[in-house]
Subunit: 196 residues, 2 copies
DNA sequence: AGGGTCGCCTAACGATCGTTAGGTAGGAGC
DNA sequence: GCTCCTACCTAACGATCGTTAGGCGACCCT
């Protein structure tokens, strides 16, 4: 896979932009190279294959989601399920808004990975989704959340959150914090029992 | 654009399947032809271009969403905003579950249309989303929904609903009705004011 | 029986794809 | 001053892309 260097970081960055804008399959190696003002073949001094570029982006994104969720769960370990879910949702939104192009490539282009890598990513996604399902199940158990199908509920919330990657732009109308606040509120409300 | 015939319908169907599974750009004309047991070049007896196939699918999907929403709104014209939004959500879910591959192609592949057609679809999507925003705004005005950014709220709901297309399969664990019920409930709850 | 149309064929076009091979300019280290 | 390494180059490979041209057999209409 080669790795290393500041140039490699630049490649991932322009590739994120292009994969987000046009999709992995519709972006050629020469497109990526052109954005860096070099020849297509020169990319192979830094990268072993086009798919490696995709994997680097997707892998980094997956790691960002995982560590953010782990931190959020650690910080709310003793809190009630509602707070814990709020922390998970906020962490997820933060990762998306911190690099929406990377997040959108992660969400929409991972199917173009090789079968082995795709299977690995599928497993990591399952593990990540399980965090949400478990917190939701805990909330149902203590009566904080309505009794729903936890798989559906987790999917509902996660797909809504992932949608942010398709429209959010750092220089847009809404700040990342504002988006996070609104989405935490919408997501939690969709699950909580009637209150007051 | 050629149009016509049962064969043309078959082309759209297998193309939906392949575009959904692998994406438009990663699906070749010869892939589509192979699924029909004919030669790649023979497709051009039925179709003017590959993009026309994509457009036929996307256009039909857009029309399905539009007529379903129009019907739902007509049927609840005199009802309160909560019921009207419930009808819109249910209509949307019904269209998605009735043909999830077509819906997922509509949601994820429309960016590969030519600039002119893409602009047209963007306008139609805006119009469709406006239906949701207006009902939500009405609900906020009468105190049924919490006062939120209606654009964010509509996007939250619609991206969650569109996510169904990525995982729903007619022969899966959940019936289309069950999915619709759960999603109507989740979506409405995310917006409604605290009750009881 | 004859003409037309429909559905598919083979063959090929120019373009572009991801990738490899081999080379070269320039700076770093001894 | 020589060597080595980094970063890029040009040239080319075989494959595959969307699409066109021209032909051929099977069926319909008269």
């Amino acid at each position: 896979m080669i790795e290393a260097g500041a140039r490699r970081r630049e490649i991932d960055e322009v590739a994120s932009e292009l994969f987000h804008a046009n999709g992995y399959a519709a972006t050629s190696v020469r497109d990526i190279a052109r954005a860096l003002d070099i020849q297509g073949a020169s990319l192979y001094a830094h990268v072993a294959s086009k798919e490696d570029v995709l994997f680097a982006i997707v892998d980094r994104a997956a790691a960002a989601f995982e560590t953010a969720a782990a931190t959020a769960e650690a910080e709310t370990a003793t809190a009630d399920p509602v707070e814990r879910l709020a922390a998970l949702v906020e962490a997820h939104v933060d990762v998306v808004t911190s690099d929406p192009r990377r997040a959108s490539v992660f969400v929409t282009e991972w199917r173009h990975l090789s079968p082995v890598r795709r299977a690995g990513m599928a497993a990591r996604r399952d593990g990540y989704e399980r965090r949400f399902r478990e917190v939701i199940a805990d909330g149902v158990a203590v009566g904080a959340f309505r009794s729903t199908d936890t798989a559906i509920a987790a999917t509902f919330v996660l797909t809504a959150l992932n949608g942010i990657a398709t429209w959010y732009r750092p220089d847009g109308r809404l700040s990342a914090d504002a988006v996070a606040d609104q989405y935490v509120d919408l997501a939690l409300r969709s699950l909580t029992e009637d209150h007051r």
